[in-house]
Amino acid sequence: MEFVKDLISIRDLEKKHIDLILKKSSQMEQALKTGKELNSLKGKVVATLFFEPSTRTRLSFQSAAMRLGAKVLSFEDVGASSIVKGETFSDTIRMVDGYSDLIVVRHSKEGSARYAAQLAEHPVINGGDGGNQHPTQTLLDLYTIKRAKRKIEGLNVTLLGDLKHARTMRSLLYGLAMYGASIELVAPKGLEMNREVIKEVKEKFNANVTEKSTIQLSNTDVLYLCRIQKERFSDQYEAEKVQKEFRITGETIKGAKEDMIILHPLPKVDEVAPEVDRSKHAYYYEQARMGIPVRMAIMDAMVV
C-alpha cells in the first residue's frame, strides 16, 4: 500500500505519504474543476462518526465521499444514538465497522481514533481526537500552502494564537518542520506551544523554530491564525486585553510582504478584522474549500 492503513496522527506519516496526498489532491481539484466524474469509492460505504459537534470537517468528509461515488452513513446527533443508552465507544466502533468500508471518527478523548483503529478491521481516519491530532486538517493546510506558494521548504511561517490548546497547530508545526519551513511561534503568555513538541521537531527534523510574544510580520510568507478562547482565562479583563493585542487588523498587516497569505482553520470569531477579510492576504476561505479535494485524495488513497 502506498499510503497508511489508518490515518490517525501526522506522526505516522513520512514525507512520501504526504507527497502522495499533495499530488492526489491536486488531481482531485482538477477533476472537480472540469466536472470529471470520479467513482473510485463506488459501492463503498463511508461512516462518519462525530461524537463531538463539527460542521466543516463532517460535511467536507461526506461531500468528498459522495463525490468519489460512496454512500455515507452518519449520526449527527449523539443524543439520537445508542450512546445515550450507555453504549461504550468500543461497541459503537465494532458495530459500525460491520456496516461500512471506512470510518471517520471525531471524539473528545485523546487517543480515541487510535483505539478505534485497533478495534476496526476497516481503515479509520481521525477527524480530531480532543486536543491531540487532526491530521486531515494538517494535510489540507500543507496542500493550501504548497498550492499558494509552490513550495513549503524555506518559507517563513508564523503560527499565532492559542498554541497550547489548538490541536491544529501542534500537527501543523510537525508537518511544516518535516518540510523544512522556518517557523515562528507567537502566543500570549501561558498559551505557548508545548515545549515537548518544539523539542521533538527540533530533534527530529533539525527544524528552525523560534518563539516570540509580539507580532512582527515583515518577513512572514504565511500567517496561520487560530482562535484565543476567552474561557481559557480566569480573568476576563486579561482575556479581552490579550484578544485585542492578538487581533489581526489592517494596521497589523501593514508592512507585511505583498504576497503574504493568512490562513485560519475556521470558525473564526473576532480575531480578524473585517478589513483583513477583504484584503488580498485573506486566504482562509480558499483554504476551507481545499477540504474537499484533500479529503477525497485521502479516502482514495486509503480505500482503493
Binding site: S9, S90, E110, G111, Y115, G130, Q133, E196, E200
Partner: protein, 148 residues
C-alpha cells in the same frame, strides 16, 4: 560496622536501587505487613557505583516482567539476584524496556485509556531522558510520572 543481614533461602534480592527508592520497590512488589515471608529493606547503604543505595531482599517471591518493568522506571540500573537453595542462580540487570504494556495508567486525564477498558501502552521516546510516549494520546512522560 558492616550491617549483617541473614541470607534468604529462595527469593529475590534487588540491589543497586537508588537511595530512597527501596520503599517504592516494596510498593511495586505489593509487599505490605500482610506478606507472610521474610523481607529485608536496607536503606542508604554505601555503594562504590552509585554513592548510596537501597537493597531489598524478599523471600518466596519471583518477579514477573510487569514488576521488573515497573522497577526499571525508578531503578533503571538495579540488579536482580534470583536465589534458590541459598545460592544465586541467576543475575539480571534491570533495563528500561522499549515498551510498557499495562504497567501504568496514563497520566493524561483526557486519554481514552482512562475511559475505556484498554491495556495502556507506552513506547520509549528518549532513553537517556527516560521518556515514554503514550501510544494512544501521544503525550510524552518521564518514567517517574508513570508511577504516580
Amino acid at each position: 560496622m558492616p550491617l549483617v543481614v541473614e541470607k534468604i533461602e529462595s527469593g529475590t534480592v534487588i540491589d543497586h536501587i537508588p537511595a530512597g527508592m527501596g520503599l517504592k520497590v516494596l510498593e511495586i512488589l505489593k509487599i505490605d505487613r500482610n506478606y507472610g515471608a521474610r523481607v529485608a529493606l536496607m536503606m542508604n547503604v554505601p555503594s562504590k557505583k552509585i554513592g548510596k543505595k537501597d537493597i531489598v531482599k524478599v523471600e518466596g517471591k519471583t518477579l514477573d516482567d510487569k514488576a521488573v518493568n515497573k522497577i526499571a522506571l525508578i531503578a533503571p540500573n538495579a540488579t536482580l539476584n534470583i536465589i534458590k537453595n541459598s545460592e544465586v542462580v541467576e543475575k539480571k540487570i534491570v533495563q528500561l524496556p522499549k515498551e510498557l504494556r499495562g504497567v501504568s495508567k496514563c497520566p493524561n486525564p483526557q486519554c481514552i485509556t482512562n475511559f475505556e477498558p484498554i491495556e495502556t501502552l507506552f513506547k520509549i521516546e528518549n532513553h537517556a531522558e527516560m521518556k515514554f510516549r503514550c501510544f494512544f494520546c501521544e503525550m510524552a512522560f518521564e518514567a517517574k510520572e508513570l508511577l504516580l
